[in-house]
Every structure is written in C-alpha cells, then in structure tokens.
Subunit: 209 residues, 2 copies
Amino acid sequence: MKLHGYFRSSAAWRVRIALALKGLDYDQVFVHLRHGDQRAPTYLKVNPQGLVPALEVEDGAVLTQSLAICEYLDEVYPQSPLLPGTALARARIRAFAYAIACEIHPLQNLRVLNRLKALGQDEAGVRAWAQETIATGFDACEALLDGQAGPFCFGTEVTLADIFLVPQMANARRFGVELRWPRLTEIEAACLRHPAFEATRPERQPDAE
Amino acid sequence: MKLHGYFRSSAAWRVRIALALKGLDYDQVFVHLRHGDQRAPTYLKVNPQGLVPALEVEDGAVLTQSLAICEYLDEVYPQSPLLPGTALARARIRAFAYAIACEIHPLQNLRVLNRLKALGQDEAGVRAWAQETIATGFDACEALLDGQAGPFCFGTEVTLADIFLVPQMANARRFGVELRWPRLTEIEAACLRHPAFEATRPERQPDAE
C-alpha cells in the first residue's frame, strides 16, 4: 500500500495510526501542502479533490477521505477492530469520530483559514476562529464521553474515536487552545503512550520540518 | 423510534430518507432551529451537541450524527443496503458521502454563516462563501463519480451517496448556486422520482413553513 500524506495533516495522521494499529506495511509519498503539491496535476490524478490522505491499495485503486480509508481497513483487516461491540456501541464510537471529522476539523483546516484571510481577517482573527471552533467542538466531545470508562475514549481498547481525537488535540495545541477538558487530555496521554500513536506522530515523519 | 429533526435541516433529511428506504416507522419531534429550540435545556439533554438530527431507538438510547445514524440503521436493518458491494465499493460510496458531510455541509450551515456575519460579512458575502463552498465541493463530487454508471451515484440502487447528495443539492438551489454538474443534476432528478426521497422532502414535512 502507498499512503499519500503530509506530516502535519491531521487527516493523514489518522490513517497512519489505523495502519500501525493493524500492523500493516506501507510506503509513504509526501505531498507538501504548504508548497501546494496537492494542486499539482500529478497529485490531482491520484485524488481529484486535491486533499490528503489518499491510499493506493494492492490493485492500484486509490481510496480517499480518511474516514472511508479507516472503515475500509477495518473491513479488510479485522485485527485490532476500530469499531468493536454492538451496533449501538459502534454508533457511539462513530458519532464521536464524526463530531471531530464533520464539526471541528473542516472549520479549522488550512484551506478555510486562508479563505478567512482573503475576507480580511488578520492573524489574530483567524486564530480566534480556530480556537472557538475547537473549544465548542471539544465541549461536545467531552459530553459524548459522559459515563464511558477509560483509559481510551470507549474503554480499554483504542477505537476510531481515539484515532480522530489525538490528531485534533495536536491541532488544538498548535492553535494555543487552553485544554480545559480533563477527560480528553487523559485519553490523549494514554494514547500517546501507545506505540501506534507514538511512532506515527507528525514530528517523527520523514517529511517533518 | 423517534426522530428529532427540522424540516429544512439537510442532515435530518438524510435520516428521513434512510428510514424511508428501509421501510421503518418512526415518530417525529420538531426542533425549530431558527427559533433556537436546539439550545433549549430539554433538547440539550437529548443531544448535548445541540444539533439535529437525533434518533431515539427502541431502548431509549439516543443516536446522534446523521452519518452514524445511517450506519447504525444499515447494520440493524439490512434490507435495501446503503453500502452494497465489496469493501472497495463501500469505500467509494462512503468517500462520496464524506466529501459532502465533511467538506461541504459543515462550511455552509447556519451556525457557520452566523459566525461569518458576526465577523462583519454582509448578506452578499455570506452567500458568496456558501456558493463557493458548494461549487468547489461539487466539482470534486462530480469527479468522484467518473466512470460510474447511473441512474444513481453508484449504479442502479440508491446508496448512502445519494442520501447525502440530494439534500446538499437542495441547499445549493437555496443559495442560488448555478448547477453546472450534469451528472449530479441527473442523479438528483432520478432520486426525486423515488418515493423514499419524494415523501421525505422538506416541504412535505409537518413543520414546514
């Protein structure tokens, strides 16, 4: 398999964690988002959306969207299930992941922040937008975990929820968000002691700057 | 089952379509988003995120996030599968749905448009933001369907992709987007002839204004 990604993309980090959890080997292709590699014709042939990550699988097919890639990996490689339990348990795990993937991440990615700058927002305004987005979203995430046991989001095993939480926590730190969510912070610490998270951290990647 | 929704919420419409496709009965509870019902303490007990839809299932459990609800319904009620085919086929269907759920919808919902107004954007500026978001996203969606046969997104049966496309097309019309995507427009027309889409249209709901 071949993963097209960028060390600092939180969506690419999600896929690196899923691949590591399942013990899968893959090659990496580095798409430098700040240099605009994602808009190069060669990359648009891989993913017409111009987004990372994209995963080339055995037969040359290209998968896009980190959520779809994680679901695919979970169906094809059932070891270390990302969505364990009953349909209801799986729905709760997915809802948590989507609360990040659909409510937080799209509103604080580079593309949107650049659009806000084009509308006349200065650095402080853009930063405040990202901080407010993340804080509101994490309030909801903390509430979604009410009554759930640790050390991970949903019990004693890593799930899709943790895979989405940890890269978003890294973004929160990068934007200087005050981390006022004790449960989320504990989960992040537990995850970062796990080798699948540790080894895939952005700063450990070959393209890290 | 009890669906908490709002006639004009495209996320609630997705769930209405999924329930209709599977032939499931449910009661509706109307949460008036423009009156702020979603921030009322009674609703926040149902969904702490303050978003619609939320689905109460048989044992009183509450499911949130339209994507998680659709996946749950597909697992528990396998008739009229929303994700037919191989793992690769399912990944393509999911990637299309996520291209709408993660890349378009979050950037043009009421909450975000209100934030843009608070930053000083006038009506025209907010409308232009929504239009640009939808147009860029639909360019990618049309490309993702390259090589796929109709009349629906992925062949002769309705899938999760169609459930996400049609409500987003309605939003596009509402924002006055020029619909320059022939394939998406044809799929929308085919879907709106299907009873699961027809009967669940926003204007057919009891809370429509």
